[in-house]
Subunit: 207 residues, 4 copies
DNA sequence: TATGAATGAGTCTTCATTCAT
DNA sequence: CATGAATGAAGACTCATTCAT
């Protein structure tokens, strides 16, 4: 039956997620997943092509969302915000940016943990690094655009610094996840984070 | 013979380091290490108790140094610097702190990479997390002490922020390592980093 | 329904034939057959007892015809031809013989390929060998009969030679199949073949 | 120790040969080989890279010899024989050719059986077909050369006939192997074979 | 000390067949 | 008749470690 099948598929995925989170991709045996899901090992292969496919299945919703976030940076709304940021020094942009990621954490806490810490050995083991690089590229592009409009803007000593700050945003998120912060705690932490980044960047840009 | 024995031990360790760096702990086979060292697989067990012991042996110098750095925070010199920071707002302390870690990178680049990215599956896979937590505890203690001396100091919204900044220092280092920056590049990056942190903290503490 | 049922049975058989031809018996998975036939894997078991039964079903028409050909050698017509061959040295017999097999190729090219090259692992993997042996036995009987009627006939040095020529006929056919000769090419090849065999045997029998 | 190791290697190879001969490549399990050789399954991998490598190891001597036979066709001696054949119609050439293959049977009976009937699923499953094609190419070249020297020579109706005769030589050998003929029987069979071929070709070439 | 050989548990994956519906 | 789900046995191969010498 269709419903039953989907039920088992999710049972397997849930068991897999639990074991992957606990042991990491490599150390997880299909056997463990099967036991956790209460199915035979070989039956898993009726639902997924293999261990890697199973892992991807679990984190796909997260990946889809992250990639859509990257794409969004090119739409109209983004350019409006950019103007406001460039003219008024509004932190709306950064705020909205980080809010999106916070929502991401809320929706995909486990998946983020999987892809950031537990993916070694899977085909997604470099996903975060690649994603970070892509984000860095966008930030750099953003800053260059800004510089064109405000030629007297102070600059950072090396472009690598942009990279660092992108990475920081991810380690920021990753620590929130790792320590399982409550929404209230998250909010406070984010305020500190945004304030810190905002002040820092304004200082640099105004010399 | 003692001399010869030590020679072989180092040969094995060198080969192991190379393979661990390339493949990570779990994916590394004793076979590969043996081949790299030009010895038989079983001979490795005359020098090390097993794969894990071998890994620990390689990163031990780094660990020793890192732990000594943590302990140093309690010595006399540190308290003098602390006074100077507390009274004059000198960044000497932070500067010296980060310089120590930069030196650490210089001396133990490979070992840092091993312990930060390639330790999954070994008994040291949580070392960095534990170390970071210890550092955070120190920073928190530091700030509380400072607060006692300067009661009107502005505070961070949550202590977790201290943790974040400790982590950031490590991801900062880790990115330097990952991207194999030259000393010149490192210097520039560090300047950006210190400036950013300094401004940020001063802002918070002065409201 | 009876009609519908037969339709599905043939669909399955057709798909199976295609996959068996491509991959051989052992490497063929029931899954592939089911997919090719557009039915569920388990439904195949409503029509066939299993993989082996399915394979036998496909080649049965060929087997039936081959076995009828062997039996025919004992009928009246055959004995008339034999007389003509024995008295006049007519090649009508050999010609008709080979023509029958050529027709077999035309009607059962795929099935022949299956049973000659793709049956390993099935219960019919020895069919061709057994059949060849049976044919040899007939040729030997034929020659002994001839020898009785024409005592001065030259002989072959070993009866094994008869076996060889039977085998050759099959490898002749099998190569025609393997290289997918067109009817025109087949005709030329057969002429060469019959001429060669005819000359050879006449030479032996006339010393 | 070196001797002991080689001893085990040959033990494994011997057991493997026996099982491969009995069951064929695909149906043979490493387990069976290990049991036959009296070693653990995994120990086989200390001597061979895998099942396929093990199979190749067994038939390599045969392959080497067969390939050297193909190469020989281009040396001086061959051209002398060719002249004698072309001028005098001597069957020395064919005789020597077939004698070489008979010797091959004597030396590599099992290996030939393996590569002709039991290689399905291994990387050598097409070796015989490829080899046959190469031989055919040589025969065709030979005949074209002969035709140049004797323009009035009668020809075969299709070049495919050459291919057939090459195949026949192999099925000839293969039947000798399959039926485990004694040397005495082999000799007689070969005489029949050579006589048959010689007469047949002479007839064709003289019209 | 050093080695090659051996082991045994463990890995993922495949597949013909059966079962419940 | 048809199906998707489930099974269980088997398969090739890996690898850290131990053993005998």
């Amino acid at each position: 039956m269709q419903t039953k099948k989907e039920h088992v598929r999710e049972q397997i995925a849930a068991a897999a997620k639990e074991v992957f989170l606990r042991k990491g991709f490599m150390k997880t045996a299909m056997h463990d997943i099967a036991k956790g899901a209460g199915v035979g090992v070989s039956n898993i292969y009726n639902y997924f092509e293999g261990k890697d496919d199973l892992f991807r299945y679990i984190v796909t919703p997260l990946i889809v969302e992250m990639e859509s976030m990257v794409r969004e940076h090119h739409n109209v709304r983004y350019h409006e915000q950019f103007q406001r940021y460039a003219c008024d020094g509004s932190d709306e942009m950064m705020m909205e940016h980080i809010q999106k990621y916070i929502k991401l954490i809320g929706n995909h806490q486990d998946e983020l943990k999987l892809i950031m810490y537990k993916a070694q050995g899977s085909s997604l083991e470099n996903f975060i690094d690649d994603y970070t690089d892509e984000c860095t590229r966008q930030v750099v592009a953003f800053m260059e655009e800004y510089k064109k409009q405000h030629p007297q803007t102070g600059m950072v000593r090396t472009q690598f610094t942009y990279h660092i700050h992108t990475v920081w945003m991810f380690s920021f998120m990753s620590e929130i996840i790792k320590h399982r912060l409550t929404p209230a705690e998250i909010e406070k932490t984010v305020e500190d984070y945004v304030q810190f980044e905002f002040i820092g960047w304004r200082n640099i840009m105004n010399h």
